[in-house]
């Protein structure tokens, strides 16, 4: 089967998330972008499926800083084709991204679309479900354990409490991957650098979609002070206080 993996680049959550001056958006220029964690799982699952069953893996990303690196990294990991989708605002929301990917996918042969189940900036919903609905094909979110059997796809969807359900579907389908069967592989940096010199990315230009998104009024941090009392002192002071708190709340055994 041919698998397409549209990936999202998102701000690195480990870093301080700077806001712009009027508090209406993130200060995108001050942020480092990287592949969304769940998209990395989707890519890994796609590569695993290809290694087990043959077929191809095509990775797509919307053009923005770090897109080239993410796409070359995907090639270094074993993807067959990498496509940079150009022509739209790089800081666009997920709905617009879904429209752009839909347009780009018109030029890509695929049976199965794997996306990350969600991304940290999915204010307008998850890419996979939006994309499937625009393409009018079925979708399942929170998916693990995908397998191909002849012409059909079998998969597990996760619910609360570790409950799973098994589904079967004939392509085409969009699966929002929760976790790959094994942790995403690493691409050697030297290999990525080499590909950046030697290989090239395909580009597909799309027209900027005309959808409207809910208006953003403001972006702000959760109110400080409502949360934890921070423990002061040396490591030993902190440990002593934690021990005291835990033993007091645990009650007698």
């Amino acid at each position: 089967m041919n698998i397409a993996v549209p990936i999202k680049l998102v701000p690195d959550l480990v870093e301080e998330l700077e806001l712009n001056d009027d508090g209406s958006d993130l200060d995108h220029d001050a942020l480092t972008y990287k592949i969304n964690e769940f998209c990395d799982h989707a890519l890994e699952e796609a590569l695993q499926l290809k290694e087990a069953h043959g077929g191809s893996v095509t990775v797509l990303a919307l053009d923005r800083d770090e897109a080239d690196k993410a796409l070359f990294t995907a090639l270094a990991k074993g993807a067959d084709r990498a496509i940079k989708v150009t022509g739209i605002d790089e800081n666009t929301g997920t709905l617009t991204a879904a429209h752009a990917f839909r347009a780009a996918l018109a030029g890509v042969e695929f049976d199965v679309l794997l996306t990350g189940v969600q991304a940290p900036d999915d204010r307008e919903g998850q890419l996979g479900v939006l994309l499937a609905s625009l393409l009018e094909i079925p979708h399942v979110s929170a998916v693990s354990e995908v397998s191909f059997d002849g012409g059909t796809v079998t998969l597990h969807k996760e619910f609360a409490g570790g409950v799973l359900a098994r589904y079967q579907v004939a392509p085409k389908v969009v699966l929002g991957i929760q976790s790959a069967r094994q942790a995403p592989r690493y691409a050697p940096v030297s290999r990525v650098r080499q590909l950046m010199k030697e290989a090239s990315l395909d580009e597909i230009e799309v027209e900027s979609p005309t959808n409207t998104s809910p208006e953003v009024r403001r972006v702000f941090r959760p109110t400080a002070g409502r949360g934890a009392e921070m423990l002061a002192g040396t490591t030993e002071d902190v440990a002593a206080r934690i021990a005291e708190l835990v033993l007091a709340h645990r009650g007698a055994r």
Binding site: R123, G125, S133, L134, E229, M230, I242, V246, H249
Partner: protein, 321 residues
């Protein structure tokens, strides 16, 4: 006045209503009252009659009963909900950010050509505008959005009190005929699989030591186990630890794991993503150890420290010896 109605999508597994359904009903009631509309709840399933008797929080139950709605079936549910909304228009559709809600909200928004606001922790009306605050970026930022007119709202599980929507007794139940599309779904639901029982039932423990990705390596788990033993509790974890297969699924706390409410919850190297918070926010005492002072876990913890867990835990063990 149908246009000012609010429709809650009930969630259930095997006919047992999920807690989040009551959370949505509570929020839905506030929105419906503010708009002067009715609060309706869509109940989709196969042989679901019993469940309606717990939906007294709504004015009406709109029920679709069809064999293809057995288990949870994304494609069939979306088709059924489009039918429900065609016959019984509602201005605001409330779903949740659970595994089920995730497969409904964005699909409904596209099918009905309505805007969607996802990961909402709250919502209110300001005149004609619906204003909602979404928890994004792993809980590190809040984004306030406003929409006019029809919309779909996907509400964070665990963000609103369930008690507000939990009213026994069945309201009027209106059957909505299953649309023809249900007979020709492309997706097939095969079976449900229950998780195997674990060695330890973390929902029954008094003290839980939770390890997150900050624990760095499987080799550091014995240290956490030692601490749990010293405190008379058990080790549990965030999802990535289970994904790495360092601990069994039965130890996972959160949206796709278990909901726990121990007397003490000590979180070591856990960032506090909404999907994790959902599973432990009701713990009696929450203490968080995280080197990132902006980690969302500190919003929910009672006490916190930004000391390195690899310093704090040995010091704690020393103290408890």
């Amino acid at each position: 006045m149908s246009a000012s109605n609010v429709l809650v999508v009930a969630e259930h597994l095997d006919g047992v209503l999920a807690e989040v359904t009551f959370e949505l009903l509570g929020l839905g009631r506030a929105l419906a009252s503010a708009a002067g509309g009715k609060l309706e709840v869509a109940l989709l399933g196969s042989g679901m009659d019993q469940a309606a008797s717990h939906l007294g929080g709504a004015d009406r139950v709109l029920s679709v009963d069809h064999a293809s709605l057995r288990g949870f079936h994304p494609e069939a549910c979306v088709a059924a909900l489009v039918q429900v909304l065609t016959e019984h228009p509602a201005r605001t559709v409330l779903t949740s950010t659970t595994s089920m809600g995730m497969d409904l909200a964005a699909a409904l928004a596209v099918r009905l050509q309505r805007p969607l606001i996802a990961y909402a922790q709250d919502a209110r009306l300001e005149g004609d505008l619906l204003v909602a605050t979404s928890q994004l970026y792993g809980g590190k930022l809040l984004v306030e959005s406003a929409v006019e007119g029809d919309c779909v709202l996907s509400v964070l599980a665990g963000a609103n009190p369930a008690a507000a929507g939990r009213v026994d007794g069945s309201p009027e139940v209106v059957a909505v005929a299953a649309p023809a599309a249900l007979a020709s779904c492309r997706l097939q639901w095969l079976e449900q699989i229950k998780p195997p029982a674990g060695d330890v039932d973390i929902t029954q423990e008094t003290v839980l030591v939770c390890v997150g990705r900050g624990i760095e390596s499987e080799d550091n788990l014995p240290m956490a186990q030692e601490l749990a033993t010293a405190l008379g509790g058990a080790v549990c974890s965030s999802r990535p630890i289970v994904d790495n297969k360092w601990l069994p699924k039965t130890r996972q706390v959160g949206k796709s794991g278990l909901r726990v409410a121990p007397k003490v919850y000590l979180a070591l190297g856990v960032s506090g993503a909404p999907e994790h918070i959902e599973g432990m926010k009701d713990a009696g005492l929450i203490v968080a150890v995280n080197t990132d002072a902006t980690a969302p876990i500190f919003e929910h913890a009672h006490y916190g420290t930004t000391e390195d867990l690899f310093d704090v835990v040995p010091a704690l063990l020393e103290r408890l010896r």
